[in-house]
Symmetry: C2
Subunit: 259 residues, 2 copies
Amino acid sequence: MKKPFIFITNDDGVNAKGLAHLIEAARPHGRILVIAPETSQSGMSHAITIASPLFLRSVRKEPDLEIYACTGTPVDCVKMAFDHLLKGKKVDLVVSGINHGTNSAISVLYSGTMGAAIEGSFYGVPSIGFSLLDFLPDADFEAATIHASQMIGQILEKPIELPLCLNVNIPIGRPEEIKGVRVCRQSKGYWKEEFYCRKDPRGRDYYWLTGNFQNDEPDAPDTDEWALKHGYISVVPIQVDMTDYRQIDPLKQRLGHRE
Amino acid sequence: MKKPFIFITNDDGVNAKGLAHLIEAARPHGRILVIAPETSQSGMSHAITIASPLFLRSVRKEPDLEIYACTGTPVDCVKMAFDHLLKGKKVDLVVSGINHGTNSAISVLYSGTMGAAIEGSFYGVPSIGFSLLDFLPDADFEAATIHASQMIGQILEKPIELPLCLNVNIPIGRPEEIKGVRVCRQSKGYWKEEFYCRKDPRGRDYYWLTGNFQNDEPDAPDTDEWALKHGYISVVPIQVDMTDYRQIDPLKQRLGHRE
């Protein structure tokens, strides 16, 4: 039987430690193609590059592992894989990460890691984004790597209902400290920002984004934030129908809907 | 009574024709602050600028209208407004656009116009993203301007349940050709891409993204794509819980969920 084919990308760029660990986690499970951004694309969400062309650079080629770098966003990398390099080829799994930093709750919207995972699921392939709750470049990825490898095996094991896209977040800790996996819903809450304001060398004001997540439901045990706070890995299945169905009828009245 | 306060942004940049028309549409309804990107941010989705600082430039200041340009993304512009310039000030409405080009169906995920509108709704303010189905720089915005102005009035008229974020798309046509407004759900479907591949002046291959939307349900009259195709303005209320609730139980089994 042919080994599964796995496509890997990330948003921290082709040189990120988290990417090397995701390759390590996936390698026992199949043949691998990586297309990762040349540079950090943290916070790039579902962005695509429309106004300029993309370049692709071969980084490494060995049996069952090819790595490319792409000048675009994480979503561009996925499109480059499916619509160019792999055109028509069967892909069994898309994995993105392992991100340096959390992508739980509303961060799914801002995350390049999850942008890529969501895009992967559009091609009819199960898709997982992995994030570690440690943004440091030299974060300890050992527990994350063990659990990512296990989860990749569990998803590849037998067919699963599609579309499937998982937002997986892994708490900081040594492998023995992780309590296990919880399948959750996305916590409600938002990022409250502040801008660092300083003067540049030419006296111009500049503003640098910084912020904190405000959890609107810290005590809800079915949420990803609760799981992470209590030492579990959180898994949130993601779908992309953003319609707010509760608002449809009130709006029909307000806006004079035409039948 | 104090005039409503309206914040405006877009993704085509501070010089876009669509922005000028949205200001025209909003002006009769209140006092206006605009922070728009310095450059085109089309396809920037919910991206934020983390790795570099932002600059803000005053473009115009007159009674009840101030315009700034910001070096960041559309979402950065919203954060810059609420967390810096307007800190603590009451805002009655956020409007984004009028985008040059469609943002219906799954395009809501890629759209900088809608990224900004969604971000606006996080601040507890009703929020509307307007898009015209014509991407040309000199598109005819007359019908879009009339209907945007009317809808701004309808939303400001009396309190509405929050959060509220609307994805409004307007078909191409003269004002008398628009059949009215339909409140819809987001169509199912995806963008099928192709890359233009060419050689640059130095002989390197480059790739330029292009694509077509594939509508999975062209005959569903409750969808935005159907409304637009039949000459109506589509309004889709947007929410941000991306959890795929149907997948939670099957995944609990597959992944060994810990209670």
